[in-house]
């Protein structure tokens, strides 16, 4: 073989191995979601369902509440799906509006002082479990436990640092001269915001929104802590009877996993190029 083929092999072999490692679990879950109960656990395991079925999706998507009776679990997700969607959307939307306004205000006027973004960042770094215990006591007192408002407020607070840091980078790209020129010509500050800054950062706003939406959609710990029976998100539902040793509903749970994953993967790929911004503390050049 030539040197070229060897080099190609040396490159592709590890990449193919990692591709297999990456795809196998995803493949398994999607396949399981189409299996009848007899095929969930077999030896040898069935990598392809012999009789593909939609029954798992039908089961979890029919209205009703999740139950665990006689060692048999039934998971329903219409309500959690709606709760997740509503909570994540609202929190992310408000966070993007407030956070980007604050990022703008900081880059243009230095509101909050030079170190402000770093202070915000350090809040984001505190493990949520630290605050979880007093949070319950606090929320019980305020009667916010197990309410939409309660969870939305929490997600709003946890999203804000991400929004501020992501939007800082986008806003720094808006030429200040343009804003000055508009101001000199008599445009009000709000007009400058609406006519210059908003259009120039529109893409950034969408990217940021989707990014924090994904985070909020996936969050488990705080959701588990601050909800009970009234409000329930998808990750909580998935965890609900996971500790049960008997009557595990592998198929329907796989269906839930697939349903929960699909939108996130689609959104993730929409913002693939920008995904790294949310994680990079503004330390990466494009």
């Amino acid at each position: 073989m030539t040197r070229r083929t060897w080099l190609g092999l040396a490159r592709h072999a590890p990449l193919l191995v990692w591709t297999a490692i990456t795809l196998a679990p995803i493949y398994w879950m999607v396949m399981t979601s189409f299996k009848h109960s007899g095929e969930w656990v077999t030896w040898p395991p069935r990598w392809v369902p012999h009789e593909p079925t939609l029954i798992n999706y039908v089961k979890v998507l029919t209205p009703g509440t999740s139950t665990f009776e006689l060692g048999r679990q039934t998971l329903k997700i219409l309500k959690p799906l709606w709760d997740s969607l509503f909570i994540a959307t609202t929190a992310s939307l408000v966070a993007v509006v407030l956070g980007s306004a604050l990022a703008y205000s900081w880059t243009r006027f230095g509101t909050g002082g030079r170190r402000y973004p770093y202070n915000i960042l350090s809040i984001r770094m505190v493990p949520p479990i630290v605050i979880a215990v007093p949070f319950v006591v606090y929320y019980v007192t305020l009667r916010l436990l197990d309410t939409y408002t309660g969870l939305i407020l929490v997600y709003l607070a946890t999203s804000l640092p991400y929004v501020i840091w992501m939007m800082l980078a986008f806003i720094e790209e808006v030429p200040v001269e343009l804003e000055h020129a508009a101001r000199v010509m008599g445009a009000s500050r709000f007009r400058v915001l609406g006519r210059i800054v908003l259009p120039l950062t529109a893409a950034g706003l969408v990217v940021t929104f989707l990014f924090v939406f994904i985070l909020n959609w996936s969050e488990l710990l705080l959701a588990m802590t601050l909800t009970n029976t009234e409000v329930s998100t998808i990750p909580i539902t998935l965890n609900k009877f996971q500790s049960a040793n008997e009557g595990r509903d592998y198929g329907p749970q796989a269906a839930i996993g697939t349903i929960a994953t699909l939108p996130v993967i689609v959104l993730g790929f929409l913002i693939q190029k920008h995904l790294v911004r949310g994680f990079s503390f503004g330390l990466l050049r494009k």
Binding site: G8, R11, P14, W18, T19, T22, A24, P25, I26, W28, M29, W43, P45, L98, L102, S105, R108, F109, T111, Y118, L121, S122, I123, M125, V126, P127, I129, V130, I131, A132, V133, P134, Y138, L153, V154, A157, L160, S188, F190, W217, L220, T225, I234, P235, L238, N239, Q242, Y250, G257, A260, V264, I265, G268, Q272, L275, V276, F279, S280, L283, L284
Partner: protein, 307 residues
């Protein structure tokens, strides 16, 4: 009246505080009382089942001594750091290696990068659930291992004391190598061309260029990856919760899982608060260092940008 209103809002000293006030208000409303409550609760002896917390007996520093004497807590802390110490370097090396392999254009590169990013877009709880199916005793993972090993492999990934730890680490590595890969790919793509070209003109070998030019230039990127992953690894909660529920025994009980159980399963709220506070102190030190590193790297980048 709207005219007066908007003119008032237009003033610089009003305008610039418009977003600041609600954001700080929110933080003050949510975080401040909780911080105070955390400190206060941590000095009490109180369970959910024992009346109102404001009537609970004050135990003062004893609660801290108790917490520090709680072996299960100390083990959970050590275990969490242990998981991080194994998982994070693995993620960094794997991510960096894969990113290097995907550096230059070649056929299929786009497909690889797209696939490699998938795991980080999956809900962590779903990853935990997914692996809980794959890793059952007679599951597909043992099947694949058996085929590769050429003899039956029957590792009890979810119920063996040692294997379960690897299951948790494996979940973290599977999902978050995607992130380190992404960070390194972007970092490599953003490397300035001139110093590299200059080194090549001066006759440096590929290895020398990599070691003496590119790696130092990648420092901020490496800093990001290290800070991000080590920070997150200390929060591990979703995987043990869905995979092993902290078991078998306490083999996979991380700090977050133990504190969660403490507060909710055992209802020992004040003890959980004490431990949370101890954890906060430890983490604060780490955060302080992390922020300093990030600030320094950002300043350096800004200086380079000027030049």
């Amino acid at each position: 009246m709207p005219g007066v209103m908007s003119r008032w809002l237009e003033r610089e000293r009003v305008f610039k505080w418009l977003p600041f006030v609600p954001v700080q208000g929110l933080f003050a409303l949510l975080l401040l009382p909780n911080a105070l409550l955390l400190v206060y609760l941590s000095f009490l002896s109180w369970r959910i089942t024992r009346g109102a917390w404001w009537n609970a007996p004050f135990t003062g520093l004893d609660s801290f001594l108790n917490a520090l004497g709680d072996e299960r807590f100390l083990w959970a802390v050590g275990r969490t750091f242990g998981f991080a110490a194994v998982a994070v370097p693995l993620e960094l090396l794997l991510g960096f290696g894969l990113a290097l392999l995907c550096r230059e254009p070649f056929r299929g590169r786009r497909v690889y990068t797209t696939v490699f990013l998938l795991p980080m877009m999956i809900v962590p709880a779903v990853v935990g659930y997914d692996l809980s199916m794959l890793l059952i005793d007679q599951g597909p993972f043992n099947q694949v291992l058996s085929v590769l090993a050429g003899r039956p492999v029957t590792v009890r990934w979810l119920s063996d004391y040692t294997a379960a730890k690897f299951a948790i680490i494996g979940a973290d590595v599977w999902q978050w190598t995607a992130l380190t890969f992404l960070v390194f790919v972007s970092g490599l793509a953003g490397l300035p061309r001139d110093p590299i070209r200059a080194a090549r003109v001066m006759g440096a070998s590929r290895w020398q260029i990599f070691w003496h030019v590119e790696l130092p230039l990648l420092k901020p990127v490496i800093a990001i990856a290290v800070v991000l992953r080590s920070m997150e690894a200390l929060k591990i909660f979703d995987y043990p919760m869905l995979l092993t529920q902290g078991g078998p025994g306490n083999a996979t009980e991380t700090i977050a899982v133990y504190l969660w159980r403490m507060g909710w399963e055992f209802a020992r709220v004040s003890d959980a608060a004490t431990m949370s506070l101890i954890l906060l102190v430890v983490v604060s030190l780490y955060i302080f260092i992390a922020i300093r590193v990030l600030r320094r790297e950002r300043r350096r980048l800004a200086e380079e940008g000027v030049r």
